[in-house]
Amino acid sequence: MGLRGDAAIVGVAEWKPERRPTREPMFSFEQYAELAKEALDDAGIGVNEVNGLCTTGVRESSMFAPATLSEYMGKPVNFAEHVDLGGASSAGMIWRAAAAIELGLCDVVVCATPAGPTPQPPGGPVNPGYLGASSGAFGSPQAEFDIPYGNLAQNCGYAQIAQRYAAEFGYDERALAKIAVDQRTNACAYPPAFFHGQPITVDDVLNSPMIADPLHLLEIVMPCSGGAAVVVASRERALRGNHRPAFLTGFGEHLAFKTPSYAEDLVRTPMKPAADKAFEMAGVARSEIDAAQLYDCYTITVLLALEDMGFCEKGDGARFVNEHDLTYAGDFPLNTNGGQLSFGQPGMSGGMSHVTEGARQIMGRGDANQLGRCDTVLVLNNGGIMSEQVALILRGE
């Protein structure tokens, strides 16, 4: 059961993260088309070869997102998915695309996550938007039982998870800070990263303002604009492309709750079943991973991923971090583009940045951050507040 490994990422496009966007504002379906064209050009695949597409929500069309995109781009497709897994949507798109290709439905699938500036309607934005990913709709459990207590947005939930972790296992704040520091070192070797050229120390992290105990400012992603796309193609098409293909040989997906208050266990996360399935499907051992691209909305997310994805025992994450060099030059290369903490989090494209970086490393197209040898990459995308998890194993042949 599982994938045969006959579909691969063959092209990538990624817009440089910006805090104050300089890019021309475009509606999100226009950005999708732009990103698709760039990724197809990168792959050496013609636009008329596209016969599948995956997307997250399209801002201008809350329903019928895939049909909106197919119509706008003039691309009839045999396979279309609207993936709604929050920050895990990007990895969720990749395995769905690969599965559709292996089933013979299609052979070139675009997966894009536009996150650039959009034109504002006359008179300005319609709603304040502070609810973010939380639902304020009548009948929504969040609206009734969480939001009235101020439990909304992301910081609070991740801080509560970190606090619970501290109570169960202890909390080495310098180890948590080191995750951000090592990733910043990676960003300093990757010019497109937002924080390129701005190295930090553990003390910088711990001296940055406390936002929600125990999370400091420099342990939290910075929202920005950007966007990314990848092209997933069949083995046959991949081998005629421009780059060394990054074949998808395993994946896992798991989710169990939306708000962590209702999670059965806050610190033993749905990452574990997702990772176990991905490794089993790929037939790959943890020790074979050349680079780990792990969703890092917060430092605590990475710590829990190292434990729950099986790189160390539960509760041993801090020791693992302290004993390993997590930089591109180190013995456990982690988030080699700087991760979202230092590359930036361009909205829903944040998750895709782990996919693009994993593919670039296998293709051998990194910058100064390129690993000497990179055949096997683990990607983790995490959605909501540790709720949706998708793991991917990418392999070069």
């Binding site: 009734e144 969480d146 509560q160 303002p209 929600a212 708000t259």
Partner: protein, 131 residues
């Protein structure tokens, strides 16, 4: 900016009515032998609709918390720090709440807490303080 308040639904109305009278009532599933939070139509184990409302002490322990030094959203910008917690009731369920009448530095995971029934406009929120 006004804080958003809960709007009861036909399924959840008994919960909010009890809070307004200073009591905590939750649904109980006899088959699964569990209390359920938040109130709903179907048991989140066996999906039965055969649930019984029962009164609880409302007491519990802090399962986790955070001290939010920056507002989680604009309506709380004048209300810092926010002490947002998950409380585990003695009968099992966990709920989202805010802690009151406590020094932020004194909060600990595992600390015993009791309900504070806080009327706000038309609603009564279930807050917690040290027991």
């Amino acid at each position: 900016m006004e804080k958003p308040l809960p709007v009861p639904t036909p399924q959840t109305q008994p919960f909010w009515d009890a809070l307004a009278e200073g009591r905590v009532e939750l649904q109980h599933c006899a088959d699964c032998e569990r209390y359920i939070y938040y109130p709903r139509t179907h048991c989140p184990g066996c999906l039965t609709r055969d649930l019984e409302w029962r009164e609880l002490s409302g007491n519990g322990v802090v399962h986790t918390y955070t001290v939010a030094r920056r507002p989680t959203a604009p309506p709380w910008s004048e209300d810092l720090p926010q002490l947002i917690a998950v409380v585990e009731l003695d009968e099992g369920p966990r709920l989202t709440t805010e802690l009151v009448n406590v020094d932020p530095d004194a909060i600990e995971v595992g600390m015993r807490v009791q309900p504070v029934f806080q009327a706000v406009g038309e609603a009564t929120l279930l807050l917690y303080e040290p027991a």
